[in-house]
């Protein structure tokens, strides 16, 4: 290590990762995301501080079947947004192996064109056992990127089938990517991810069947009574991820969707729903942690065994545990 003075080094204290993140230090951002992923105790406090600095980014989710070309499309969109002088953050989620917990995170392969641009930050994330297309840490990682000043944050989900709709709880705009030739597959997934789309993309539109896929989507949308009440008319955009065709239109529609959300008050409503589900999740976690701290693993196993053996039942056991941590269903206990 040399002792050459470096004027670019931030003047903030070494230990304060949050300050460094806010000052634009990408290593601090990367480290904070790691702490979030690992559920490190200090991450919570950091997130609490970061929350005050967020709320400025447009958070866009990309979902769709594996192989639909999400990563390539995300790359083209990011390039387009860079042309519009936006700072772009990307969180790309890939599945963890349920057997070993390991994962191969390969989304960067297709994002090589973005390498070397200091206003782009890409983070790969393993799902670590979460179902629903995201990792448990994805939303909090978004909070870190938001506070770090990225204008658009793109979340790319695990290649999703029908049920991976967690993205609606993390993103403000959801883009669902389909490819031509899915035929009946579009029918099959209509109940799942089709319902959550704010924008549809028919990717690989240079292939035969793109017009047909778009027409099928248009028909499905026209059948959806729920959508008719909304001011936003879900657009269907044809793109070619390999050439970037359609990326500009996609960027336009993203901006238009955000503007529509703001104008109609839907943005506040979405943010409210997201904040609510986050708080419920945190309370849930706090409760579980409190119970774990009160009774040991041994006793927990015994209680579970009693339920299995029908010596007790789940309802009585849960009530009893709630009483023991000071939650009194009968409300005639003094707290603690």
């Amino acid at each position: 290590m040399t002792t050459r003075p470096d004027p670019a080094a931030p003047a903030t204290p070494q230990s304060d990762l949050v300050e460094r993140l806010l000052a634009g230090d990408r290593r601090a951002l990367a480290r904070i995301v790691t702490l979030i992923e690992n559920r490190a105790p200090e991450a919570r406090q950091m997130l609490a501080r970061l929350h005050a600095h967020g709320g400025n980014a447009h958070i866009v989710g990309f979902t769709g079947s594996p192989g639909a070309g999400k990563s390539t499309l995300v790359t083209q969109l990011a390039r387009e947004l860079r042309r519009r002088d936006q700072r772009v953050g990307v969180i790309a989620v890939d599945p963890s192996s349920p057997f070993t917990g390991g994962a191969i995170l390969g989304d960067r392969i297709r994002m090589q064109e973005l390498a070397g641009d200091p206003k782009v930050f890409i983070r790969s994330m393993a799902s670590r056992g979460s179902v629903g297309g995201l990792a448990a840490a994805t939303r909090d990682a978004t909070r870190a990127l938001d506070a770090a000043g990225f204008d658009t944050i793109i979340i790319e989900t695990v290649g999703a089938g029908q049920a991976e709709v967690e993205i609606v709880r993390a993103a403000q705009t959801v883009v669902v990517v389909v490819v031509p030739g899915m035929g009946d597959d579009i029918q099959a997934i209509k109940a799942g991810i089709l319902e959550i789309a704010d924008i549809f993309v028919v990717n690989k539109a240079d292939r035969p069947g793109a017009d047909q896929a778009a027409a099928e989507l248009r028909m499905l949308l026209s059948l959806d009574e729920h959508r008719k009440e909304h001011a936003w008319k879900t657009p269907i955009i044809k793109t070619v991820g390999m050439t970037g065709e359609g990326a500009s239109e996609l960027a336009d529609k993203l901006a238009a969707h955000l503007a529509s959300l703001k104008k109609t008050g839907q943005l506040a409503a979405r943010d409210g729903r997201q904040a609510q589900s986050e708080m419920v999740a945190l309370l849930h976690q706090a409760l579980i942690e409190r119970i774990s701290a009160t009774i040991g693993t041994e006793e927990w196993r015994r209680l579970v065994a009693q339920v299995v053996e029908r010596e007790s039942d789940p309802y009585t056991t849960a009530d009893e545990l709630a009483r023991r941590i000071g939650l009194a269903p009968e409300a005639n206990h003094p707290a603690r």
């Binding site: 040399t2 080094a9 931030p10 070494q14 690992n38 105790p41 995170l105 960067r108 390498a115 393993a126």
Partner: protein, 158 residues
């Protein structure tokens, strides 16, 4: 919840040869060893490798190289890591690395140097044994500021 820590490894294929079968086999093996492997594809420049390592906050970098350009690429990677104050990442290499170059490679701080025929299990064990133990603790080591100077004498815990 203390078991959330996973070893994150960047598997990179620097240089101009496009043969990444070995890199893919190793990536797969490390995954099966319970690690999270960020695979970046072929033709990575040192800048791309270091930038990816920073953004992904990896514990280890494994460069697979067959082209013979290792004596040009490895010093550049190490220099860029130093410039960015990254000093807690295990840097390893594998591929075709002539015996006579190994001492120089090791001296740069590039470890492992797995030649053809190295059992995959040996690579997994090597990574597990040599990753910075402090990085594997729940709280990561304090991050040094960008640039070498600010890293001096400022190791207070985060």
């Amino acid at each position: 919840m203390a078991d959330e820590r996973r070893i994150r490894v960047l598997v990179a294929k620097p240089g101009l040869d496009g043969h990444d079968r070995g890199a893919k086999v190793i990536a797969r093996a490390l995954r099966d060893g319970g690690m999270e492997v960020i695979y970046t594809g072929i033709r990575q420049t040192p800048q791309m490798i270091v930038e990816a390592a920073i953004q992904e906050d990896v514990d280890a970098i494994l460069m697979s190289i067959l082209s013979g350009a290792h004596m040009a690429i490895f010093p550049k990677v190490m220099e860029l890591l130093r410039e960015n104050g990254v000093d807690d990442v295990l840097v390893m290499a594998g591929g075709i690395l002539p015996d006579e170059d190994i001492p120089a490679i090791e001296a740069m701080g590039v470890k492992g140097n797995f030649g053809p025929g190295t059992p995959l299990s040996a690579i997994i064990e090597y990574v597990k044994a040599h990753v910075d133990p402090q990085r594997m603790s729940q709280a990561l080591p304090p991050l040094r500021a960008d640039g070498p100077s600010a890293a001096e004498g400022s190791d207070q815990p985060a």
